[in-house]
């Protein structure tokens, strides 16, 4: 008996230690960013164009660029991703073709982001002639986000009990009516959550926008989707490696803004999830 109590204790300590080790980097990184970055945050830092050769703060164009990129990415990846997921989950028969498509989507999720960047460069920037632009960058990010949106949507659709569909069919409803009135309303929370998380990941990516949209220094706001734009991840890269003598405060301040934006998106996603979970009745 003593033996089993001892084992219990060892297991507990081991598991707790592992958990602490896992969260320690997150706490450290967040702490470091907040400690070094917060002093930089000011109205002027956030809402003006870069000053002193980007050494004096001013990241408004990069913030706006990132927001534009996210918006256009969402515009492409959300509808296509959700519709494809509905097709795969609700309509497609289980055969070799469906399985091949599923395999392709899984592999798409595993492609390194620099490969997406080069793909975007050759297809959107050069072949289709969009040039380095918000359109090209967003399309590249959208393709990268698609597997996440599709997978999250399919999971959300699959979590709606099969029996709900059978009930709907048994009352003479068509497949689309069943999807529209029974499956989707119950899958929406999961779809939203997964989609937002996919977008928030895309918001922080540097490689895909490197060749397709990101401007080194562009002291004005983009006015159309064919414009180049600054973006926060690339701006951070520039500040820390390309421009000499940028103060640590400015660098961390920029990082804090990007992390903060992603954090807000994630908070929204988990709020949506918990809100609907409370309302869920089955």
């Amino acid at each position: 008996m003593i033996d089993s109590k001892l084992k219990e204790k060892i297991a507990f300590v081991l598991l707790l230690t592992a958990t602490i080790i896992v969260i320690a980097p997150v706490v450290l990184i967040t702490g470091l960013i907040l400690f070094n970055g917060l002093p930089a945050i000011s109205f002027d830092f956030l809402f003006s164009i870069p000053k002193d050769g980007m050494r004096g703060g001013g990241i408004w164009p990069a913030i706006v660029g990132t927001i534009y990129l996210m918006a256009v990415t969402a515009l492409f990846s959300i509808p296509f991703g959700i519709l494809a997921a509905i097709y795969l989950n609700e309509y497609a028969k289980r055969n070799w073709l469906t399985r091949a498509i599923e395999l392709a989507i899984i592999n798409l999720a595993g492609v390194p982001s620099i490969v997406y960047g080069l793909f975007g460069l050759s297809l959107f920037v050069e072949f289709l002639g969009f040039g380095a632009s918000i359109l090209a960058g967003s399309l590249t990010l959208a393709i990268m986000t698609l597997p996440v949106v599709i997978t999250a949507t399919r999971e959300a659709l699959s979590s709606v009990p099969r029996s709900f569909r059978e009930v709907s069919f048994s009352l003479g409803a068509s497949r689309w009516q069943t999807v529209r009135h029974v499956v989707l309303p119950n899958a929406i929370p999961g779809i939203l959550t997964g989609t937002i998380l996919g977008l928030s990941r895309a918001a922080g990516e540097t490689a895909p926008i490197l060749f397709t949209v990101a401007a080194f220094y562009l002291p004005k706001l983009p006015t159309s989707v064919y414009d180049q734009a600054m973006a926060l991840p690339y701006h951070i890269y520039v500040l820390s490696t390309q421009v000499p003598n940028v103060s640590v405060k400015i660098q961390y301040g920029t990082v804090l803004v990007l992390v903060g934006m992603i954090f807000i998106l994630n908070i929204v996603a988990s709020y949506i999830r918990s809100y609907f979970r409370k309302k869920k009745t089955w």
Partner: protein
């Protein structure tokens, strides 16, 4: 007497499993046909062929014909067929909607939008399923708030609301207590005048209580079909007798 359903040479396979073998069966208009038999005897497969719910199954294959009022069901529009042949499942399966929206779901899918028409349909269906008095004051509450027995009668009412000719029951009382079971059986008896009903049940006594005729299925074959009184007193087949007297199954 007119036969509502005519089943000829029906065979069902799921992949290589031969679930139903050479079923020939006529269902008379306005009767309650009981179908008894142990698990895996093909009872549910039979039901799910009649309203073509089996078509949703990827590995399903069948041959033979099923006719509704003399028309092959394969030639009817599948949505209209399922509207005419309703089903009540083993577990109470309300949709995650209010009581009223559950009832209105079917009619809405068939294009009924008028609220007063829907309300009238709801009241009529809920009365016929013997649950109106219990839910009339809480039509807007979630169907999940009802008890299991009430949910199952709500499901019957939901089936009635699309105005079918035939109602299939797939072990409708298997998850219910005896009192709820009696209420469902009472509802079935009240529905006799207007509907043809097929009751698949694991509960032999339930068939004895409500069915006009009873069929005994075993391992995918229908071994016997007779008036309920006859089947339960003088079964022609030895295995039927063994089953109803509780020697197996």
């Amino acid at each position: 007497m007119v036969n509502k359903l005519e089943i000829k040479g029906l065979n069902v396979w799921y992949d290589e499993v031969h679930a139903l073998k050479e079923l020939n069966l006529s269902v008379r208009a306005n009767e309650i046909l009981g179908v008894i038999g142990p698990s895996n005897s093909g009872k549910t497969s039979f039901l799910r062929c009649v309203n073509r719910l089996n078509d949703l199954h990827d590995h399903f294959r069948m041959d033979g014909t099923i006719s509704l009022d003399g028309q092959n069901i394969r030639e009817l529009d599948i949505h209209l067929l399922r509207k005419r042949i309703g089903i009540v499942f083993a577990l109470p399966l309300p949709l995650p909607l209010s009581v009223f929206d559950n009832i209105a779901y079917g009619p809405r899918m068939h294009g009924v939008k008028n609220r007063s028409k829907l309300l009238e349909l709801a009241e009529r269906s809920l009365r016929a399923a013997a649950i109106w008095d219990e839910v009339k004051d809480r039509l807007e509450t979630s169907a999940f708030k009802l008890s299991g027995g009430q949910q199952q009668r709500l499901c019957i009412a939901r089936t009635l609301a699309v105005e079918p000719d035939v109602i299939l029951y797939d072990e409708p009382c298997s998850a219910l207590d005896p009192i709820s079971t009696l209420k469902i059986e009472e509802a079935m008896r009240n529905l006799k005048d207007s509907y043809t009903q097929i009751l698949v049940t694991n509960n032999v006594k339930q068939a004895a209580r409500v069915a006009d005729r009873t069929a005994f299925f075993l391992m995918g074959e229908m071994l016997e079909l007779a008036e309920t009184g006859k089947l339960f007193t003088t079964p022609a087949n030895k295995r039927t007798e063994d089953y109803i007297t509780g020697r197996f199954g």
